[in-house]
């Protein structure tokens, strides 16, 4: 064993040490790939790991939670209290408040302070009887007696901190239940009831018992169900992010493959000698797999540290997206666990070893006599290119078939498989592309750019396999960049067009409390009436949203003025029907329209009937159409406001859209509206500013995507630099010879840079073609099956041109160091080596 280790050190590790730059570049490429994977894993955990927010942890361990859309009717609490069991019942009001001084949004929880001890330090027992009392969570940093101004819905008031809560309270702001009911205008309905049950029965038995006791339309579920729902909702987002993070590692895998291939090609003589001296094929293969594993281990060691550092930035971006699109949660601390570190090592070493299997197998097949046949490998690679092209066509066909398949458990598994097949097809088609383009361009390049271009072209075509691997690595990164660029660009353009149709109102109003994907603060019911009386205003559309759970997934139930939306709005419908006629049908009937993400997520179509638990009953609603929507991934169920009020008679709107009369200047209309709103904490956004804000959120959402793409491209460009360096070292005889034949140093430099440029060009061409097809997969299969959005294809020309130019320039720059090495070779020494 020791002897083998010594031999491994002498024959494999020592040569790696002789080329520190190239070895480091490969190891760093792997490290960056691992770091990207680890950072996304840690950031995803942190961003999603805080669902058990202070809302839930305030009480401690409870067994069940009772909820109802629009609030739990008071009789539910009475029925629970009447049950002959030793339940501990915690009625709750829940919302959010914005601290005026800091702009920070914190959970606002109303609890029965008389019966519940929250471990608070408090000034006096009767403090909760005051109208301005709040108790601050320990994480907020307040002390007893502090004054704090809170914006709750559209009302801003000053409160006194009567006490500081115990350790579990986090950042919650707590008030007495009665006071919270008043402040939040809940008219006696509770938001949640938490129940602790005694031991002696199973969870299922208690759940069944509680369900029987509660009125129709009130839901009971084991504690943590909401967190589970949120996790399920986030699963697709995290899954796609995770897949994106693996791109860098895939690019790194290409580079490991290239490094080990180079190692094998270079050492054919050595391998031949070792085989002649008695080395088995297995030993040769193990040696090269060991080399790959060494890169994987080194990469993992650096990648774990780097990944932990990158996670800090990543968690910010991921959390922002989670907040915007999914659920209100504050990121939990980043925890680098042993499991996560082990994952990094397993992934790093695993990917490296798998990437090296083919060249290591090839090395094991080297016979002593074969080692003497120089140039044979490259010749074989050239001979097989047509066969590879045929396999590529077959793989592309397989990708097309896979892309037509349905999702598996809500995940676009076949979509990913199609993407892998496309990557394989591209890798196999690249030798033919390189060969074809090289032969086609050699003459032209020679005439236009001289002998250096000819030599560069021939060199790339001559080392077909190595060139193909490099082009494959770089083009994979470029393809993903292009594909995601096209997808995001298409998505962006689709949203812009959609907003043009959808946002027809002149002004949009919402409570000043910062909104969240699962927060629907309300404003005074008097506001719409007041606005509709303004002479500048033609119509006011008020919209109320409730968070509901549908088939175990969070969704949004909304009610709007169907008559006004039908007359003034232009909500694009999937069926292509006229919005006016569809909205007319909504008025006065138990019918709904649903957003496209909701329809796709729950497989709902026009004509289906949805049964929703609403205010003490289970009501059935017929779906009359599906509309395009890009504002929320949870999905909407929309009914007429009149219908919603019939079931949930809370008149306070969450949002209000104002249509100005024709000829009224927007500024004048806005001033009139703002004047009418004095005394309310309501924000007024113009049509334009709302669109700008939406696009700002959109761009922020995809920032993490671009960051991951950048890492992948960086890895690929570094790989090209390392590979060009290897190329220079391997071809030092050629460069020395050129000097003997009258070649100047500057000509060598140009030649290397031409090679780098040609590699970049080939990779850009291959990457753009592959990226186009991958973007079709992303847009029409993966996105559709993961999130349910219909995206119209659009070429983001400016983004693509600038991104590809940056990659191209980076590739050229990657050739500078190898070019310098080439010009500094001493020809006499190199020729003398022989």
């Amino acid at each position: 064993m020791l002897t083998r280790a010594v031999l491994f050190h002498r024959l494999i590790l020592r040569p790696l040490r002789r080329e520190p730059v190239r070895t480091s570049l490969t190891a760093i490429a792997v490290a960056l790939g691992i770091a990207a994977v680890l950072a996304i894993e840690l950031a995803g955990e942190a961003a999603a790991g805080s669902f058990r927010s202070s809302m839930e942890t305030l009480i401690g361990n409870v067994d069940f939670e009772v909820t109802a859309t629009g609030g739990i009717p008071p009789e539910a609490l009475a029925r629970l209290a009447a049950l002959p069991y030793a339940f501990k019942i915690h009625p709750r009001m829940e919302d959010y408040a914005s601290i005026r001084a800091t702009g920070r949004t914190v959970p606002l929880v109303g609890v029965d302070l008389v019966s519940e001890s929250l471990g608070a330090t408090t000034s006096d027992a009767a403090a909760f009887e005051h109208d301005d009392s709040v108790w601050a969570g320990s994480g907020l940093g307040y002390k007893m007696g502090d004054r704090v101004e809170l914006l709750i819905n559209d009302v801003s008031s000053e409160y006194t901190v009567r006490g500081v809560l115990g350790d579990r309270s986090g950042e919650a702001m707590v008030m007495d239940l009665a006071q919270a009911t008043r402040v939040l205008h809940r008219s006696g309905r509770l938001d949640r009831i938490l129940i602790e049950v005694p031991v002696g029965r199973s969870t299922e038995e208690w759940e069944s018992l509680l369900r029987q006791a509660l009125p129709e339309g009130v839901c009971v579920a084991p504690e943590g169900t909401r967190s589970d729902e949120n996790r399920r909702m986030l699963a697709a987002f995290r899954w796609n992010l995770r897949v994106l993070s693996y791109i860098s590692l895939a690019v790194g895998a290409f580079l490991i493959y290239n490094t080990i291939s180079v190692s094998v090609v270079r050492r054919r003589f050595e391998i031949g000698i070792l085989r002649a001296l008695g080395a088995t094929r297995g030993a040769v293969m193990a040696a090269f797999l060991g080399e790959a594993a060494s890169f994987g281990l080194a990469g993992a060691a650096v990648g774990i540290v780097l990944g932990r550092l990158l996670a800090v930035g990543a968690v910010r971006l991921v959390a922002a997206t989670v907040q915007s699109l999914y659920v209100s949660s504050r990121p939990a601390p980043i925890l680098l666990t042993w499991d996560a570190a082990a994952l990094a090592v397993v992934v790093g070493v695993g990917v490296s070893v798998v990437s090296a299997l083919s060249p290591a197998w090839e090395a094991s097949l080297v016979a002593p006599v074969e080692a003497m046949a120089r140039g044979r490998r490259e010749h074989e690679a050239r001979v097989h290119r047509w066969r590879d092209l045929c396999v590529a066509v077959a793989l592309a066909g397989g990708a097309w078939i896979a892309s037509r398949q349905e999702p598996v458990s809500g995940k676009p598994m076949f979509g990913y498989f199609a993407a892998v097949l496309l990557l394989g097809a591209s890798a196999l088609a690249i030798p033919a592309l390189v060969s074809g383009l090289s032969s086609a361009s050699a003459g032209i390049l020679r005439r236009l750019l001289g002998v250096e271009a000819l030599l560069a072209t021939r060199s790339l075509a001559g080392s077909l396999r190595r060139t193909s691997v490099l082009v494959g690595a770089l083009s994979t990164a470029i393809a993903m960049l292009a594909a995601v660029g096209i997808m995001v660009g298409s998505f962006r353009q689709t949203v812009i067009v959609w907003m043009g149709d959808r946002l027809q109102a002149d002004l949009f109003l919402r409570p000043a409390v910062p909104p969240g994907a699962d927060r629907y603060p309300t404003m005074s019911a008097a506001i719409p009436d007041r606005l509709s009386r303004l002479p500048e205003v033609a119509a006011v559309d008020q919209f109320r949203a409730y968070e509901i759970s549908y088939q175990g997934m969070p969704a949004i139930l909304g009610g709007g003025e169907a008559r006004i939306a039908g007359r003034y709005g232009n909500r694009p419908l999937v069926s292509g029907a006229s919005p006016q006629s569809v909205f007319r049908q909504l008025v006065g009937t138990d019918t709904v329209i649903v957003s496209e993400p909701f329809a796709n997520k729950h497989r709902v179509r026009a004509g289906d009937v949805l049964t929703l638990p609403l205010a003490g009953q289970r009501a059935a609603f017929r779906v009359i159409d599906v509309y395009y929507d890009y504002s929320n991934e949870r999905g909407f169920i929309i009914m007429d406001r009149g219908t919603l009020l019939k079931y949930l008679p809370d008149p306070e709107p969450s949002n209000v859209a104002v249509y100005l009369k024709a000829g009224v200047p927007p500024d004048q209309g806005r001033r009139a509206v703002e004047a009418a709103l004095s005394g309310h904490g309501v924000l007024v956004a113009s049509n334009r500013s709302l669109r700008e804000e939406a696009m700002r959120i959109f761009d922020r959402t995809f920032a993490i995507t671009y960051a991951l793409e950048a890492v992948a491209v960086f890895v690929a460009v570094m790989g090209v630099g390392g590979a060009l360096l290897a190329l220079v070292i391997d071809r030092r005889h050629e460069f020395a010879l050129l000097r003997f034949l009258g070649g100047a140093g500057s000509q060598l430099r140009r030649m290397i840079l031409f090679e780098a440029g040609l590699l970049g060009l080939l990779a850009n061409v291959a990457g753009l073609i592959l990226g186009f097809f991958l973007s079709l997969l992303l847009i029409y299969v993966i996105n559709k099956q993961s999130f349910g959005w219909t995206i119209q294809f659009h070429w983001p020309v400016a983004v693509l041109v600038s991104a590809l130019s940056v990659v191209y320039i980076a590739t050229l720059l990657a050739g500078l160091y190898p070019a310098r090495v080439a010009t500094q070779l001493v020809p006499i020494d190199v020729i003398h080596e022989e």
Partner: protein
């Protein structure tokens, strides 16, 4: 007029901090069309002498005059130009670029010099070495002797005044070696090209006008008309 003249040339290399004399006070002169063989054991300084003669390296002391130009007086650019115009190289291991065809290998020096008549000249030189029918082949399709003939054609493509051949028959069998030596002899005679050939094979020296025996960096012995000025 002499094409190559070395005057009291010495060359030292520093190996691990210790100076090692590769050549010591060597002087020689070779005229146009002369076939000079530098013979000696491995490590006697043959290759160093050829490198200095081919303007690939500078002497530590003394002067190397190539067609009347002192190589020490030139910078990197001047040396490159001098090599392009005056010197052709032939190597023991042929050194053909595997990615270029036969004719492309031959025209390479002209292309590096930016000359436009490369293809015509290359085909003509291939005719000289009787390899014109192989112009489109790749190097791996040739035998060793054929590769060396192509390498000679390449060394002659820009009509150099001096052809430097470092062990050109070292990798060839006897029969093929004889053919290559005869070819070099013919080139010296017919094309008036000065040939300086390094070899450790005394039989190969039989084709030469002049034979210089090197030993430990010094000219030990000289046969026939090349004028030796001094020896250590």
């Amino acid at each position: 007029m002499s094409i190559l003249r070395l005057e009291h040339v010495s060359k030292d290399y520093i190996t691990e901090g210790i100076p090692v004399a590769a050549l010591r006070d060597v002087s020689l002169e070779a005229g146009r069309g002369e076939f000079v063989v530098v013979a000696g054991r491995s490590g006697c300084g043959k290759s160093t002498l050829l490198n200095l003669a081919g303007a690939m390296d500078f002497p530590t002391s003394g002067t190397v005059m190539l067609d009347g130009v002192a190589t020490s007086s030139l910078g990197e650019r001047g040396l490159t130009r001098l090599r392009r115009e005056k010197v052709g190289f032939v190597f023991q291991s042929f050194q053909l670029l595997p990615t270029l065809s036969v004719v492309e290998n031959v025209e390479l020096p002209l292309m590096l010099a930016g000359r436009g008549d490369a293809r015509e000249a290359a085909l003509e030189r291939l005719g000289w070495v009787e390899m014109d029918s192989y112009a489109a082949r790749m190097p791996y399709q040739l035998s060793g002797g054929q590769m060396q003939r192509v390498a000679i054609a390449r060394a002659l493509v820009h009509s150099p005044a001096l052809l430097l051949a470092d062990e050109p028959t070292g990798n060839l069998d006897n029969a093929t070696s004889d053919l290559i030596l005869a070819l070099l002899r013919r080139i010296a005679n017919e094309k008036d090209t000065t040939i300086l050939m390094a070899t450790h094979n005394l039989e190969a020296a039989g084709a030469a006008d002049t034979v210089i025996h090197l030993r430990d960096g010094c000219v030990q012995e000289l046969h026939q008309p090349v004028k030796r000025k001094s020896a250590c």
